[in-house]
Subunit: 226 residues, 3 copies
């Protein structure tokens, strides 16, 4: 058991493994598990029944997992919901919020003041910028880049495997540029780029790159502005 500051409020049945660092005024809810090496800043609130700092495992059919998994870092004033899982090697920056039932893989960066919705899942090696809103049940695939101030509506789906497991292929997720907005339940295909301030309609299927400042909707998504 590591040193826990007197200012911390720790619930019942909480498990805190070795080599965990805990800042001042931290709240950890009942039954939450903080695994080896996790680093928690000041004024962090962590809900109930969470698992934080997971080391990746896999099976022989899943792709190679980074051997270099450092610790999970939760910066000052982050808020973590309930029943959340977050892997090691991930950074959650100041004032970010992770909703209930969300799951964040290893080697992810979530920048300041971003909101990750309930039940959203962020896969490995993805980067999400500042002040983004990633709504409920969004699926952010691996190797995705989301720039600052992006809005992603509920249930948006992304993919990163052009050949759906059939061929050796460099996995590459979407690249969503700053100030873009994606409507609910849209589908984004592997490797596409969505331009700055571009708007994608609800339920659209985006199959190719979209330039800055466009409005696209439909299946497949087409220009509805010009």
């Amino acid at each position: 058991m590591p040193d826990i500051p007197k200012s911390a409020k720790i619930g019942r049945n909480v498990v805190i493994e070795d080599h965990v660092k805990i800042g001042e005024n931290v709240f950890i809810g009942h039954n939450t598990i903080i695994l080896n090496g996790t680093e928690i800043g000041d004024d962090v609130v962590i809900g109930f029944n969470c698992v934080l700092g997971i080391q990746p495992i896999g099976n022989q059919r899943m792709r190679q997992i980074s051997k270099n998994h450092n610790q999970l870092v939760l910066k000052n004033n982050t808020r973590i919901g309930n029943l959340v899982s977050i892997y090691s090697g991930t950074l959650v920056a100041e004032n970010a919020f992770i909703g209930d039932h969300a799951s964040i893989r290893e080697n992810v960066i979530i920048e300041e003041s971003t909101v990750i919705g309930r039940g959203a899942i962020v896969e490995l090696n993805s980067k999400i910028g500042k002040k983004c809103t990633i709504q409920t049940l969004v699926y952010v695939t691996g190797d995705t880049i989301i720039e600052d101030n992006v809005f992603i509506g509920p249930c948006v789906s992304m993919s990163n495997d052009k050949y759906m497991g059939a061929q050796p292929y460099k996995l590459i997720g979407p690249h969503i540029k700053k100030d873009a907005k994606i409507g609910n339940n849209a589908s984004l295909l592997p490797g596409i780029t969505i331009g700055q301030k571009t708007i994608v309609g609800a339920g659209a299927v985006v199959t190719k790159n979209i330039e800055d400042g466009q409005i696209f909707a439909g299946v497949p998504a087409k220009d509805i502005k010009n």
Copy 2:
């Protein structure tokens, strides 16, 4: 620790905070957490690893949360699955069923005999009528009204923010009238009304109001009956 009737069956590592009321013949599974002020009726079954009675938190970029959060009330004979989260200020009426991994926010009303599917998420201030079926992984956005006897298929997505975070706007979810049926993975836009006994096809994107007794499908959804 509050008074617990002798008829209750309480699992191991269960946390029951102060000011919790528990009726007769209640089952609470191992590792479940019942937070301050929760009121549980008779013959209620609560699964394992749940968190019930959560007080809302947020960050400065999320919308104002009601200060008037009363307790969570689970009426007689409700059934709560496993790994479920439910907030305070919400009412789950008699004979309702909440599936595994579901999450229900504050100030929600779920009326008698309604079923909420596995992994479904219901946001704040929504009302769901009697004998509804809200299937697996449905997303019910905030400020939604669902009348009695509505069927919502798996993975249906709703939104309540017409400007996707861009403008001050009164958030308003869909209004789904009684006996309507929504096919799986349909997308509903903010503030639309779906009429009584109307049927929406699987994968449809509903962008405007639909009158009673219609059949709509496609992207965007169009009348396929007349």
Copy 3:
């Protein structure tokens, strides 16, 4: 408490009920619950905060649940993630992987080396073949058959109730034949068959049977190969 081999590594606050069998070199993470009658093979890894071996419950509006629920069986070398729920009467075969937050119902068979993604939900009476990849947040409805080596992209939705609760009807899920590939966020309707090596595009809505070796996309899905 059953006999636990000395080779097992059991976390803190773990609940292991009676009549559980545990093989050699098993890892069970903190706060996980193993319910009555579960059978765990050798070299199995189970994450944190899981609930395994759940007996089905329901309410009077849900369909009849099999009375003949045998135990949950996890075969040798299976890997179970974190915050996972699995019901009794289900078989997870050798080398299979079940991702974090996934939920698997009763009477399901998951064959060797198949991967079930994070947050995916598999309903009762379904069978998933060998070496399948069922990606993140996929919904496999009840009474579905998925043959060997199928790829199902993220957020794919299936349904099994043609009349959406309105009529007595034999529930029947999709039948997806071997080597088929389904793109992300596609919707599959009740009882359809998708042929061998057929490819379905992202966001497609499949409303009728598709023969072997086809490529279909759109809403409703149409032949885009010929």
